[in-house]
Amino acid sequence: MIGFLEIRRRKLQFALVGLIVTLISFLVLMINGLGVGLNEQAGRALRNFDADAIAYSDRAGLSVIRSELSAETVERIGEESGARESAPLGYMAVNYRRDDGRVKSAAVLGFDPGSIGEPPVRAGRALTADDVNGLLADRQFLRASGLKVGDTVRLSVRLQEREFTIVGELNEGAFFFQPSVYMLRSTWREMKYGMVTENTPSASIVLLKGEGLAGKRGTGWEAVSKSTAFANIEGVAGQQSTVQALRVFGYLIGGLVVGVFFYVLTLQKTPQIGVLKAVGASTGFIFRQLLVQALLVALGGVVIAVPLAWLTNEAIKQAPDPVPIAFTTGTFVTTSVLLLLMAVVGVLFSGRQVAKVDPIIALGQQQ
């Protein structure tokens, strides 16, 4: 009651700290959203693969870029005990030119129709074995390029350029921080290696379905789980540790701001706390008032920050090259709960200060 009334009567003071908590909450939410968004950019397509494990060349160090598998190795991987299904997949990075003249990059994944490597088509149609110049494009690619199903696009790699017709739309997400497009593996092979001979690599990786495949190795290959594969995408580990550090600093600063505010407030109110103790109020009673205030301020900050962050992201999404921020309900809930917890942790220091106040100060007496 006292804590609540104090907020009502000292609106400006509490509104200012509320504003700071709102801004910090907003920042932490955006950082968390960026963490999720970057994760999606790094490889939502990989996470979406219909596979239990992914096999790489054992010389590639779990790098899709460096992994090259021969047709023989692909066959051996598919024959591995425990593998119910397998699908070779090719990867390469290509460039294309947007209408505004800017050259952008995209990730190409080459698959075999009918295999577990084939992505589900959301609009348009799937590729058939005859669609050598057909392309399935992810929504992100369509948004970034301004193209739609039925349009043509020229993809270039090395000195080659080839025109494709977009026949279907996907929602598989990005791969290697690039919007993804899917083509036939045979076409991928031609584009990537030019002249195809029996020694030309057949795939970059092999998707595997079955039990206990992660961790298996064979001649020229090794298989890992999808989560290990994701963590080994170049730059993901560094990016995630950076985002994690920003996130932790955000929580710490949020807790610190709330903590310092209430600590200073407690110091200012020492005479009043002395009086309350002198008239019989327990440390717990006084601390509860502080706790209620800290929770109300933090809750106010979070309640404003959540829709603010969501609206900001909606606005950002309209940009041609949006910052990859993505929110989930989990992001909002976890961030809000953690910020409230940090406010409670911050106010604990004030609790110690309250406990130290001697009620004798109510009489203005120095001991």
Binding site: L5, E6, R9, V275, L276, V279, G280, F285, G364
Partner: protein, 231 residues
């Protein structure tokens, strides 16, 4: 029936060894139920220390403080806080109200602390404010009240939990003499009208003379006592 207070051989020493300060030494006195007693003396005479010990804010070094047969000098921690909450009403020097609360809310805080029934507490707060002539000011913030009004609210606050013992520390320190006299007269009327025991520390003899009895302290000792002469 009122409260009976008996103080015996009360000592308070701050610090140890050569740096020890004997704030109160060998003080003994007893009160009658319904009495209002003033404690006077120069600054540093130990009168506030004695008030603090009787109020359970300080633990005596030696001696007993018998309140209706219970030695509160032996109480510690929560028991002492409970004694302060249920048996004692404090009126402190000016400006000890919570500034962000209204006059009425300052009284209701006492009920919150004591976990009293809030409906009954609101009625009691209104009654006390009325008795002290503060009904019109009950919704004014403490910072909007005059010095005299603040002290009257402090008196009402001290009486809010119906304590048996009302302890008053320099209630007129920040008031002019006319207003100070009004406040002390209200205080005495409220305390005696409810058959409480009142103990008031003051350096102002004019205020002390309004009490039933005056105890005089000097250098931590009780050096005299007199029944106040009323004009």
């Amino acid at each position: 029936m009122g409260i009976r207070l008996t103080v015996r051989d009360l000592d308070k020493v701050y610090g140890e060894g050569e740096r020890a300060v004997h704030a109160v030494r060998g003080v003994s006195f007893a009160t009658e139920p319904g009495e209002f007693v003033a404690i006077v003396g120069p600054s540093g005479s130990g009168k506030t220390t004695m008030l603090a010990m009787i109020g359970g804010l300080l633990t005596p070094t030696r001696g007993t403080i018998d309140v209706n047969g219970r030695d509160i000098a032996q109480l510690r921690g929560k028991a002492l806080a409970e004694y302060r909450r249920t048996k004692v009403g404090f009126v402190f020097q000016a400006n000890n109200l919570l500034p962000y609360l209204t006059a009425r809310e300052n009284l209701l805080v006492m009920a919150r602390i004591n976990r009293s029934d809030m409906k009954a507490a609101r009625a009691r707060a209104d009654q006390l404010l009325e008795e002290l002539g503060l009904t019109a000011r009950r919704d004014a913030l403490a910072t909007e009240l005059s010095g005299g009004e603040r002290q009257r609210v402090a008196i009402a606050r001290a009486l809010m939990n119906d304590p048996e013992l009302v302890l008053v520390d320099e209630p007129t320190a920040s008031l002019d003499s006319a207003r100070g006299k009004q406040v002390v007269q209200s205080l005495i009327a409220e305390v005696k009208g409810r058959d409480k025991l009142g103990l008031m520390v003051t350096h102002d003899m004019a205020m002390a003379e309004l009490a039933d009895r005056v105890l005089e302290m000097h250098d931590g000792q009780l050096v005299g006592q007199a029944v106040a002469a009323r004009g």
